[in-house]
Amino acid sequence: MSILVVAEHDNNAVDPSTLKTLAAAQQIGGDIEVLVAGKGCSTVAENIAKADGVKKVVLADNDAYEHLLAENIADLVADFGKGYSHILAPATTTGKNFMPRVAALLDVAQVSDIISVESDDTFKRPIYAGNAIATVQSEDEIKVITVRATAFDGVAEEGGSGDVESIDAVFNNEKSEFVGEQLAESERPDLTAAEIVISGGRGMQNGENFHLLEDVADKLGAAVGASRAAVDAGFVPNDMQVGQTGKIVAPQLYVAVGISGAIQHLAGMKDSKVIVAINKDEEAPIFQVADYGLVADLFEVLPELNSKL
């Protein structure tokens, strides 16, 4: 068996989700090769070649792949990936965007967002917002899979000694083009990789009040998340949303502040090791999953918490 992992990166650095996808690939077992597609990303290729268990890195460096447009990347991966038994990518917005296209081009079904590897063709994945866990078996010749990064421990960044090989296959569709992007600037750790996450919900009342959370987050080195209610109300940008339709996190500590705990939010954080809920409504469903609950007004609790840390 040979496994192709499509690396996630920003043309400069490897995204941690790639290391976790490599861990899933190791559990499947077989020769692991990594495809790095992008523009000016040879450093990414050299670095990922050192990751534990990587046998070979294939670099497709071209203008066409700069922004990882799904149309171009899918054509490349489907063409290059034909000889492999498995093609894996992290279930990030990038992976979710191009992988189903790859699967359809190869005429195979896709297994999305796996949380465990049972065997080389059997996987577990959450369905119904994580309220049920399905064990599925793929009968396709090529298994196209996206991996939920929080469910796997990443492989070591050092220890491997893969070779980097360049390919010049260029797929550049004429139908889509990158116009621009607005990325949220943050000094705090990445939400999906943080050890501690503090999230605010509708109870925060407005965007300004999020500084109360940010102050605590800075003391703890935590990332700041939000519920859909807080995002929809315009308190914070959407890339901070934790939940079924936002990001999936599983930190050591998750602090939910002013969040009621709807099914859709729980889907994004209930695998956290320790959950703390701060809410003035004693009946809020979040208390049913919280290890530690504090029934109190967040506007009193947050400054106090900040001063005591």
């Binding site: 149309e71 899918a74 990030t92 917005t93 990038t94 979710k96 965007n97 191009f98 189903p100 296209r101 699967a103 359809a104 081009l105 195979v108 079904a109 896709q110 297994v111 999305s112 959450p126 369905i127 119904y128 994580g130 309220n131 049920a132 399905a134 064990t135 599925v136 793929s138 009968e139 396709d140 139908k175 889509s176 083009e177 990158f178 116009v179 621009g180 992007e181 607005q182 949220a184 999906t192 703890l220 859909r228 995002v231 929809d232 890339d239 079924q244 339709t245 990001k247 859709q264 320790v274 703390v276 999953v289 919280a290 530690y292 609950g293 504090l294 029934v295 918490l305 005591k308 840390l309």
Partner: protein, 249 residues
């Protein structure tokens, strides 16, 4: 221009699902069903484009047993012009659904196909992208804004780090994120009117599509339950427990 919208009948998003005792699947008997929330947003966007004068016709399509006609009628009540049901015994997987939709696209020749980004039951997030691949159309997934230009569509997409804008030539596939719009409620007169709107039924056979399933569902389990922990009295106790009991600070 003509817009095709694909909609799916799923369990109502407020319902907490129960796994069947034999672990064969979740129990959907006597459970409230509804239009998938992302599909509702897709219908709303198409109807808004029609109201803005950009689109002339909005066609909705759903795949599944007769019961999906209920969701098609809902979409018609929200403002779609006509509906197509592709009758199948069960809900097909994403690849078969995409193939069926490709058949409908070939017949209807829409300028844009709008789908939800994922259905809240299978949580696959695949069908729109697969349809894009099969038809050769470009895709604007996880859209939070759709702006029509002459022969093009600009789609603002929600990505992990923020937002990204792509320009797609038409025909194109767009999948909706939650923030694209706020769907309207269907008024009673519109619900009555929707009953008289055309609803055509076809089958995968008629569209020349073979429905197959290569992913077998072996087992469905309830996830490990988290039990409620303890309530603490104040901030001091909370900090103490986190430091000394949970050891996460």
């Amino acid at each position: 221009m003509k817009i095709l919208v694909a909609v799916k009948r799923v369990i109502d998003y407020n319902v907490k699902v129960r796994v069947k005792p034999d672990q064969s699947d979740v129990d959907l008997a006597n459970v409230k069903m509804a239009l998938n929330p992302f599909c509702e947003i897709a219908v709303e966007e198409a109807v808004r484009l029609k109201e803005a004068g950009t689109a002339d016709e909005v066609v909705v399509v759903s795949i599944g047993p007769k019961a999906v006609q209920e969701q098609l009628r809902t979409a018609l009540a929200l403002g779609a012009d006509r509906a197509i049901q592709v009758e199948t015994d069960n809900m097909p997987d994403s690849l078969s659904a995409a193939k069926i939709l490709k058949g409908v696209v070939e017949k209807e020749e829409p300028d844009m196909v709008i789908l939800g980004k994922q259905s809240i039951d299978s949580d696959n997030n695949q069908t729109g992208q697969m349809l894009g691949a099969l038809t050769g159309m470009p895709q604007g997934t996880f859209a939070s804004k759709v702006e029509m230009n002459d022969g093009f569509v600009n789609v603002i997409r929600e990505i992990d780090g923020g937002l990204q804008t792509v320009k797609l030539s038409l025909p194109a596939v767009v999948t909706t994120d939650l923030r694209l719009n706020e769907p309207r409620y269907a008024s009673l007169p519109n619900i009555m009117k929707a009953k008289r709107k055309p609803l055509e039924t076809t089958t995968p056979d008629e569209l020349g599509v073979e429905v197959k399933r290569t992913i077998k569902l072996l087992k469905v389990e309830t996830p490990a339950e988290r039990s409620a922990g303890v309530k603490v009295a104040d901030v001091d106790e909370l900090v103490d427990k986190l430091k000394n009991e949970a050891k996460v600070l």
